[in-house]
Point group: C2
Chain length 351, copies 2
Amino acid sequence: MTDQPGGLADSAFLRAARGQPAPHVPVWFMRQAGRSLPEYRAVREGVAMLDACTRPELVVEITMQPVRRHGVDAAILFSDIVLPLKALGVDLDIVSGVGPVVAEPVRDLAAAEAIPSFDGDRVGFVTEAVNELVAQLGGTPLVGFAGAPYTLASYLIEGGPSKDHALTKAMMHGAPDVWRALMDRLVGISAGFLRVQAEAGASAVQLFDSWAGGLTPADYREHVLPYSSAVFERIADLGVPRVHFGVATGEILADMASVDVEVMGVDWRVPLDRAVQRIRPHQAVQGNLDPALVFAPWDVIEAKAGEVLELGRTAPGHIFNLGHGVLPSTDPDVLTRLVDLIHSYEFAVAS
Amino acid sequence: MTDQPGGLADSAFLRAARGQPAPHVPVWFMRQAGRSLPEYRAVREGVAMLDACTRPELVVEITMQPVRRHGVDAAILFSDIVLPLKALGVDLDIVSGVGPVVAEPVRDLAAAEAIPSFDGDRVGFVTEAVNELVAQLGGTPLVGFAGAPYTLASYLIEGGPSKDHALTKAMMHGAPDVWRALMDRLVGISAGFLRVQAEAGASAVQLFDSWAGGLTPADYREHVLPYSSAVFERIADLGVPRVHFGVATGEILADMASVDVEVMGVDWRVPLDRAVQRIRPHQAVQGNLDPALVFAPWDVIEAKAGEVLELGRTAPGHIFNLGHGVLPSTDPDVLTRLVDLIHSYEFAVAS
C-alpha cells in the first residue's frame, strides 16, 4: 500500500489531507471495517460489539480486513464513539438493532459531574492495538476517531438513539449549568481519546459529530461549536491532520470549518464544490458519494463517483469517501471496484 | 377566528400565502391535530389511525381540536400521507411505534403497474369531512395535504420507514422503467387527493416530501422533481395556494422552489433569510421553529420565535410554523402561548 518512496508521510491520504498534490485521489470508507464484510461477521460471531473493541487482536484483525480486501488508502481503527465512555465506567451497552443504550441517562448536575475524567490507562487496549496496527500497516495511514461532545452528550442525555434529541435540546436551553458541566467533561474525553490514538501512532484523527446537523446554525454556534473547537485545540500539538465530520451539516458547514481543522468531512447532500465555498481555503474535503448509491448499477456508480472526483478538485485536497458509513447490506466487491476506479480515474482536461 | 370583514379570503393565512400584507403573521403547526393533545388521545382511544382518518365525524372533531384550543390561523385536515393508497386498495397499515407498513412492497414493474389509479369515489369520507369542516371553520382556512410521489414511493418500495432508502435509490438508479411507472401512478394519486380536498373546500394544500432531503441535489433534480412538479401543475387550475415542504432540504430548496408553487415550507435547519435567497422572489415561506425547542424555557422560546419572525420578514409572506411536526410529548399549553406570542409580536423598527 505504500505509494511513494517516502513512505507514510508521503502517502496519498496524508498528502491530500494536508492539501499537497497526491499521486492519486486517496480513498477509504467510513465503517469499512464492519458488517458489510463476511470476514468481519465471522470474527464477530458471538462477541459483543464493545467487547470486540477492547480485544486488541480482534481490533487489529477487523481494522486490517478492509485494507487487505479493498486496498484502501487508510485504515480506520475499529472502535465505537461510546467506547471511551464505557471504558471510563459509564454503564452503557450497544444493543443490536438499537444502538448505544445508557443505563442511567444524565439529567441533572450531579449526573453530569459524575461523568469520569479521561484516563488513558483505561484504554490501554487501544494503545496496544494501534501499536500493532501501525507495524502491520507500514505505509498506509491509520485514522483514529472519537465522538464529538454534542453527539456523545445526546446519547448520555437521551439514554439511547433519538430522532429529535428533545431532551438534549431541553437541557441545552433549559439547564445551562448542567449542559456546560457535561460538555466540558466530554471535551476532555473526546480530546483524550484522540490523543491516545495519535500518540500510539495513528496518522490522522476524525471527530464524528453525527447529530450536529439536527441543530439550527444559531444553536450549533452557541451551544456546541465552542466545545468541538476546544477538542481540536487540545490536540493541535499532535501535528496529525484532523477531520471534522457530521451528517446533514450543510447549514453549519462554515461553522464546523471555523475550528482549527485540516479536513472537512462532507455528507452526500452537499456537492463538494458548494462545500468548498463554505469552508476555509486551506482545508481539504473528504467525501461524499451517497452510501446508498452502491446499490445502483455500475455505470451509475462510475458516473456519480466521477462527479464527486471532479467536484473534489475545487479543494486543495480531496479524500474520497462515502457521505456516511458503509451500509451493512453493501456488496463489498462494489467497494473494491470503487477503490480501483478512484485510483485509476483520469480527470477531465481542465478547460 | 375571522380576522377581517372580508372573511376567509382575507384571512391572515391566505393573505400571507399569497404574499399580501396580513394583519399579523399567521401561525399553525404541522401535526397540531395529534398526540400532543389529551382530547385527541381521548377520541383516538381504541381506534386505529387509518380507521380514524376514514370516519368523517372523527376527522372533523380531531381537525377542530387544535383550532379551538390554540386559536391557530389554519386547520390541517386530520389524515395521513398513506391514506389515499390504503383507500385505493393498497394493503398497508400504520403500526404504532413503527409507521406505515406495506404488506407487499413494490419491487418490480408488475407491482408498480398494479398500484391503482386515483378514484375520488374511494375517498368520499374526505369530501364529507372537508365539507363539514369548512362550514364549522368559517373564516379559518383549512389546509389539505398529500404525500409527494417520492415519499410515497419510498414507503411502497421499502415496505415501511427506512433510514437510508437503499431499496428506493436502487430502483431509482437501477430500474428506471419501474421507477417511472410507479412515480407516474403516484403523481396521479397525490394530485387527485389534493384536488378532492380543494374541491370540497380546502383553502390551501401542502405537498409533503418528507424524505426528499435524503437525496443528492442531482438525484432530486433528475429522478424526483419532475414528478413533484407534475403534481403542482395538475392542481394549478384550483387556484388555491400550494405549499411544498420537506425536511433537511437546504441543498434542494432552490430546486423544490422551481416548481409552480406559492409557499415554500422550510425546516428548522435553514434560517428563513437563507431560504429566501434560495427560493423565488414571489414565494412566501412557512416555518420554522425547531420542534424540539418547545421544551426550552419560555424566555428562550420567545427569543427564538422572535428570530424566526424577524427573518420571515425577508419574504413577501410568512406563515409561522414549526420546522417539522409537533412532537407527541409537546405541552399543548406552550403551543397556545406561542400562538398568542406570534399574534401579538411587535416587530423591531426597520433600520
